[in-house]
Symmetry: C2
């Protein structure tokens, strides 16, 4: 791809200024259209050292309203970012709907920089490109427009620029030995980058390689490409022509029934339960310590019927844990600000770093449960979600070396009624039961269908579901603790 | 304070359980009242090692709805947190209105741990207690309720507990050599802690020292204290009795007129301006590099009349800067989520870490400008804000070694009208001018009063204001760049 470039250069100064100025005006107008249409836009600027990445992003922002974009300069990850999977830090930086996220370098530079030192990087770089493609596809499916620019200069041109910078005392400090070192490896790096660009050149996030020898030419070329692509997209959106739904994801799978039981084989009395729990809780503290020592993260996730006992179960799970190493994430409806992002982002942000335990009280499965049943998202959206969730969970497990334990707390419809009535009759518990709970109960059958489909489609090798028979609270508390301990031991 | 404790212990098991259970119910009810009243509550649990801090926070949360509290366990700061002033990380963790923020250890443990290694810690610890008092007073003035518990055990008791933990193979790993080391210094530490508690025992954030030898006694005592204090406060709030306004802050100061000029002494042509700017911009890049190298943070803040040219000025300021080391924070009205916190929090969160430049396009001064004039906050609130802002800025400068450059962009009322009309007449700029702008203009005199009072009351040694004569844009751009460069040079 790097060799098929149009090298025509613009020479007429006056004409250049006029053209640029008119393109800037059009980009400014487009920014406002994107805002009104609620479309998130990602513009990545990558390229060789000294190819003009900083200059280019600053040229692009000339046309933009500062309140509508964020400029992300990507450098080495912080210690916190390092203890998370590779893409975690970028999930946090994606722009909300209606805004532009500019990236001066991105996940591409990071992938190459982080892999090139390692032996066997060819294979691991392929793994990265797969993960990047999935990431970008998920953003694109969610409506994002993604531009990826690579600023290309020859080795000779790079050398001249570095030498020129060295001659100027005000810029000499910019040229470090590390940069010269990369320069000397230009020829080895070229095919690597070329291949990486090829592998990540998708229809939903295509690359534009720009010849960056002549600054004016570069800027004009980039503006033209941005304006042309965006005008087409905006016009399409306005005519309702854009379909960001992939047909293949919309096929409903044959439903595989999953065993769900609410009654345990044997009941547990309060006294016995308390005793068993106590020793499991101490064991759990030791597990926490071992995970911490080996920097292994763990996600424990609770879903279940209303009144199935999630809260009480979590309290028992954490009873003896050191609060330094665990946290509970109570999940409710997304705030207006959270709704401006891809629905997975608010959860991914709270994924644990190495050694931490994150407990989700409800989770991203809301997409295929409450959001599906109540119509808070469209059918294509929740149908797409199964695959998206499986990808995210698998990526998390693979890249972090951690685990995900997923509990579905099952109670019978009768048991739920009993608990609702008990709550309603107790002045101290009556606040726990709302009209919503009764309304949800009326939709039991629809929820049941959603639950079964969820269990069937998202119980993967990387992150299987455990159905917990929760008609008996003590049995349920013991089973979840035992399951977590056993799962964690397999990670250790 | 540590020697005046009531050591009465509860022995009757049944009575104990009944009392505790009833207190838990009452605390649960209080949590919902605090939520309805929008009161943020902070509960700090401090104490000796092995005094039962983890156990205590877990006992407190037994009574709480998990969706209404956050448990913060405070450990060593991350690298990012370390590069900010001491209290920065805690500002980020304060609870929003209506929620409870529980702290297992807090700024107190951190202050002592971080200072004790240093020579001359007595003096620096005094500095910390002053800063903590200001911090807590600001939170309290904003309506927060602050509980501070210290769990006290004797040296002998601590020794026994540590030995007991060592004997149990499941908990032996908890007792590290570092913990024994602190134990051996118990007697030296005691007066230090006692003094620190005394110095930070204020009417707005009092300490409760709890004898923690007997677990049941401890829990009961804490519940009683929490319930009693909160019931009193909630009752007071409901009767509208609480006045969180300090009379001394409400005295309007004699207004000291500040020189404001909109016209520069000499005008600058576009050509000359462009040339001078260019060399200043390169100088600015070098300044950025030197700040980065020495890990000195810099805040540049812009306030000014509508159409005074803030945006264009910022674009020129950052023209050659490396995006890795600066960011622009465009400030608009707080989101509903941001409104749930102390108004300063959203700005403090964006304060730069060592080596970074943060540019605020509008700022926390909104409190004493637009919020004052438009009545978005009460008079006591904006009157209090001058002192709060001065404290925060001074704390930032003192603790970070960084600087704050504050620009007021002054234009004449006529010049503003001219610019408004130009914008309105240009189809590409008409979106920049809104009805709000015209409405604000009608209140010019009220804004002028607010501006003058702001300049007079917040131009401090640590962070002085620079009025920029902005009728001439080129003059203004040159002056701001020169001012930033000169200010930064004084820091280097």
């Amino acid at each position: 791809m790097l060799d098929k470039l149009d090298l025509t250069k613009t020479t007429d100064e006056k004409k250049y200024n006029e053209t640029l100025s008119s393109l800037q005006d059009r980009l400014g107008i487009l920014q406002r259209s994107l805002r009104d249409l609620n479309i998130p836009t990602i513009i990545i600027v990558e390229g060789w050292n000294a190819a003009g990445i900083t200059m280019t992003v600053h040229e692009i922002v000339q046309a933009l309203d500062p309140r509508g974009y964020t400029l992300n300069a990507i450098e080495r990850p912080t210690a916190e970012e390092k203890s998370h999977p590779f893409l975690w830090r970028f999930w946090r930086r994606i722009p909300p709907r209606g805004r532009i996220g500019l990236f001066a370098r991105s996940w591409y530079s990071r992938a190459i920089t982080e892999e090139m030192q390692n032996p066997g990087w060819q294979k691991s770089l392929k793994g990265r490109s797969n993960r990047i493609n999935k990431f970008e596809r998920q953003l694109s499916d969610d409506g994002a427009i993604i531009f990826k620019l690579f600023l290309h200069i020859s080795k000779e041109e790079q050398k001249q620029r570095l030498e020129q910078r060295e001659r100027n005392p005000l810029t000499a400090w910019l040229v470090t030995p590390a940069i010269w070192n990369v320069h000397h490896h230009y020829d080895d790096t070229l095919p690597l980058i070329d291949d990486f660009i090829d592998k990540t050149n998708t229809d939903y996030a295509p690359w534009t390689v720009v010849e960056a020898t002549d600054r004016k030419y570069t800027i004009l070329k980039i503006y033209q490409m941005l304006v042309k692509t965006l005008e087409k997209r905006v016009a399409g959106e306005k005519e309702g022509k854009v379909k960001n739904v992939k047909a293949k994801d919309l096929v409903k799978p044959h439903r595989i029934p999953v065993q769900r039981r609410s009654a345990p084989e044997s009941e547990v009395t309060r006294e016995t339960g308390q005793q068993i729990l106590n020793s499991l809780q101490i064991e759990m503290l030791e597990i926490q310590y071992l995970l911490f020592k080996r920097k292994i993260p763990l996600i424990i996730l609770y879903e279940g019927w209303d009144a199935a006992g999630k809260g009480g179960n979590i309290t028992r799970m954490t009873r003896f844990l050191n609060p330094l190493g665990y946290y509970v994430v109570p999940v409710s409806a997304p705030s207006p600000a959270e709704q401006q992002f891809h629905y997975l982002r608010r959860f991914i942000k709270r994924f644990p770093s190495g050694g931490d335990i994150a407990i989700f009280d409800r989770s991203w499965y809301g997409r295929v449960l409450v959001e599906r049943v109540e119509g808070y998202c469209s059918e294509p959206e929740w149908l797409r979600a199964y695959n998206e969730i499986n990808e995210i969970e698998e990526d998390y497990v693979t890249s972090s070396g951690g685990g995900i334990v997923k509990f579905w707390l099952e109670i019978s419809k009768d048991e739920q009624l009993k608990r609702f009535q008990q709550r309603a009759a107790d002045p101290l518990k009556v606040h726990k039961i709302t009209d919503d709970d009764w309304r949800n109960r009326e939709k039991w059958d629809q929820y049941e269908e959603a639950v079964e489909e969820m269990l069937a489609r998202t119980s993967t090798d990387a992150a299987p579901w455990t159905v917990v028979e929760s008609d008996d609270k003590w049995f349920a508390r013991i089973k979840t603790l035992k399951t977590v301990i056993a799962s964690a031991q397999r990670l250790l």
